[in-house]
């Protein structure tokens, strides 16, 4: 069992969540209220990671973050490290390819709040922030939970983009998905099998627990 790879994957998932969730939360809420002809295009752009091959996203990210690119050069000047093939670069890539998994469930949840409820909040004298914290967040929380779980589980399992952007550096960019691939390539099927099973169980447990929580919450609301 490659514990460093499992630990790295978990760290990556946690870092992705920490960066992406707050951004996606406000983005999703803004999208839910935004009326504009440009809206389908913006939504389409954010959904691209769902339909594009991970290698395509990985390619563009690699080009954007590589040593030749302005972003890569700026990052290297700032930190003395390359952005591509580093854990930081992996987090950036992971945040980008997880956007639809984080934004969509939250956007649906915000859209599902009755306009009449939000107007009632205004008529009760609640400021925009009070309404967000006291009314919208609690009502949207199953969507927020779902977004967090999907992002976490999806990061644990992502392979193509990670390989393109991070390469395969043990302890730095070798996630569990890549470690499994590595073991299979070297015919270490025992280790590959053990890690696959671990990944499967972690993913299953995360999703099942979140579904259970959301379900219980919905039942409590509708009972």
């Amino acid at each position: 069992m490659d514990w460093p790879a499992i630990l790295l994957s978990t760290q990556l998932a946690a870092a992705t969540l920490a960066v992406l969730l707050p951004l996606a939360l406000f983005g999703a809420r803004a999208l839910a209220r935004w009326q504009s002809p440009a809206r389908p295009w913006v939504e389409g752009l954010l959904a691209l990671p769902l339909v594009l091959p991970p290698t395509v996203i990985g390619y563009y990210l690699l080009v954007t973050m590589g040593g030749q690119s302005p972003l890569g050069q700026w990052f290297e000047a700032l930190t003395g490290q390359t952005l591509a093939f580093s854990f930081t670069g992996l987090v950036v890539a992971s945040v980008i390819f997880n956007i639809p998994f984080a934004v969509q469930p939250m956007q649906r949840a915000f859209e599902a709040i009755e306009p009449e409820v939000l107007e009632a909040a205004k008529c009760c004298g609640l400021s925009a922030w009070q309404s967000f914290v006291r009314i919208e967040l609690p009502l949207a929380w199953p969507g927020i939970l779902s977004a967090a779980v999907m992002t976490f589980a999806h990061t644990l399992g992502e392979f193509g983009v990670v390989l393109m952007v991070g390469g395969n550096i043990p302890g730095e960019t070798q996630t569990v998905a890549i470690a499994i691939y590595d073991r299979v390539q070297s015919f270490d099927l025992g280790a590959a099998g053990a890690m696959s099973l671990a990944l499967l169980l972690i993913s299953l447990a995360t999703i099942a627990v979140s579904y259970g929580l959301a379900d219980r919450w919905l039942k409590a609301r509708r009972a």
Partner: protein
Amino acid sequence: MSLFIEVRHPAPRLDFAAGLPSGEIIALVGPSGSGKTSLLRAVAGLLRPAQASIALDGMVWDAEGRHLPTQQRPIGFVPQHYGLFPHLSALGNVETALLALPSEERRAKALRFLDAAHVADCAGRWPRQLSGGQKQRVALARAIAREPRLLLLDEPFSAVDRATRKSLYVELRQLHAQRPTTILLVTHDLDEAAQLASHLVLLDAGRVVQAGPTAEVLTRPASATAARLLDIPNLFSGRLEGGAMRWGPHRLRLSGATYPEGDCRFAVLPQNVLLVRPDRPLGTHLENLLDGQVREVMQMGTEALVWIEPAGLPERQIQMRLPVRALERYCVEKDAAVRISLRAADIVLLDY
């Protein structure tokens, strides 16, 4: 006149201007799509019209270059489906309207208002556990908890059963008697308006058709449109000449002022059409006697609707209302000959 509302907006179409008395229950009545709800939303600041000037007792909410946000308007709003916060208990819902208060005072005050709305026993329940009438009362408690100067009610009784509605009418009147705030009540139900409101604004296609004290608007429509909106069936054309009105072969006396000669429209409320017993001497209160023939009788509960064709006017039928037991006493049945009286004071001239 201290609630002043002037609102113009292209879609939904609003071209509304009215000065209304404050401290009263005012009903906004009109058919679906007449702009009642939009108007209420504009007053609440939820809809920002192209042009608005709204002021209550000298405090300007909307004017050229001024739009007070909803949060800062001293209003309480009960939307059509109540808009209760589904994740908060009834108490939590009312407390949310009182966030400015320290939490203990907030709780006590919220309970007091739940009590005033007769739902103190529902304080711990969630909206999903409440009946329609209870939701309505909680929403009302939440709306009045801020002690608003203007209470906006959007068809608040449309989704509750008849018995609940009746008791809610009484409770609303009692509440208003205790705290005489101005109440703007949107409804499409004329009976509801008649029972609750002292003032009535008739609305059609975003415009004021007629406004005034409820009893006056309901019985004295000022135009054919108003009569149509008030669902008055007896709407006819006549001709003013020589201080009276010619209607087919009949000459009807009118009360009051002198009128210009020419074509006119007139209305008579069904309850103001009087049946004359042929075997009794004529009282002095009876005037404008017309002979006619009963064309149709329809019993509706304890009341009967009777359509009478006046002599010499084959295309016209006057509708009147009678208690069912009067049908027999007056020998009213299909094709029977009857005599009716239209009192001068009950003939409402329109569009002359």
